[in-house]
Symmetry: C2
Subunit: 192 residues, 2 copies
């Protein structure tokens, strides 16, 4: 059967959102390689933001991540924060995408994350030797970009304004959940 | 129905191994609270080593972790490395046990790990504000103990000689898998 999304399919939010919702292992049946080859960094960040939106719609923390091959530009892994959905204390955007990719040589890849990585995710990014990380939001959080550069990871900032607005809205709506995600339940309890 | 393992059950390797193999959520049906209350730190480290042995028997990396409540001494989470079994690039002994525990205030807990924590696990331990970590092997690996103490985590060394021997044997048998687990596939490829 022919793929629904071909190299000639226009790059729209609806198409990128379909890719965000498809399991990574199913992508080759639905999307031609040629389509991914024409996607820009901004487009991959859009997919990450659409994953963040998916997480928000599920009641979770709106943070998404996408990993691509630097050579072929195909998606190798993607995911979003599942603190709430999986009762998972550290499945962030980045850890989720890395779990999805599995055992891979990440020195040949780029990871797109909608929000500046926390200490755990930043540590995992250098420990698994990612070549490059693209950060979609250094407005709502920041801090590990310089450490990552010192560890030899190329760090690029490519802010997505819809992603920034979504995270800001979520943080105002659920400040406790936001704090738990960053600092743990102990920090939330200490606040009272 | 009465629990199989009661406060009067002697603490043997066979009983601890049964506890290692039971899903954490099923423990209250099989083990009386009183049994856990009489377990020493050394006994909990034994359970972690038995989880490491389970991982080794499955063809994986022999590293286990157990989390207990400091107040009640009940097990809240446990697990072992599943690099091979789950195709999971960072499900180490500690990350596995923390995933199993779920959203919990870890500032009231102790985590037992059979092997000195890697950078990612050590970062997760301080970021989730664990009160205490007990390390079962600083012979085959070490390094983050001092950083953890500086972050306010109590670190105790309680070496388990069977666990140390098991890890040494595994490392000699599968040096590539051992390196991938610590440094990623890129490091393995760079060696050749």
């Amino acid at each position: 059967m022919k793929a629904l999304i071909t190299q000639h399919t226009p790059v729209t939010n609806e198409v990128l959102n379909t890719i965000a919702h498809l399991p990574t292992k199913n992508l080759p049946k639905i999307v031609e390689e040629g389509f991914f080859k024409k996607l820009t960094d901004k487009d991959f960040m859009r997919i990450a933001v659409l994953l963040a939106q998916k997480g928000y719609d599920e009641g979770g923390c709106p943070i998404g991540g996408v990993i691509i091959s630097n050579e072929t530009r195909q998606i190798l892994g993607k995911g979003h924060n599942t603190l709430v959905q999986e009762n998972h204390p550290y499945n962030h955007g980045e850890t989720s995408a890395i779990r999805d990719a599995g055992r891979y040589d990440f020195s040949r890849t780029t990871i797109f994350t909608t929000l500046s990585p926390c200490d755990v995710c930043a540590t995992l990014i250098y420990m698994r030797q990612f070549k490059r990380v693209v950060v979609g939001d250094v407005t709502n959080a920041a801090g590990n970009e310089e450490m990552l550069r010192q560890k030899g990871v190329q760090v690029d900032i490519l802010e997505d304004h819809e992603g920034i607005a979504l995270y800001g809205k979520y943080r105002a709506e659920k400040p406790d959940q936001d704090m738990e995600d960053w600092k743990g339940l102990a920090a939330v309890r200490q606040r009272f």
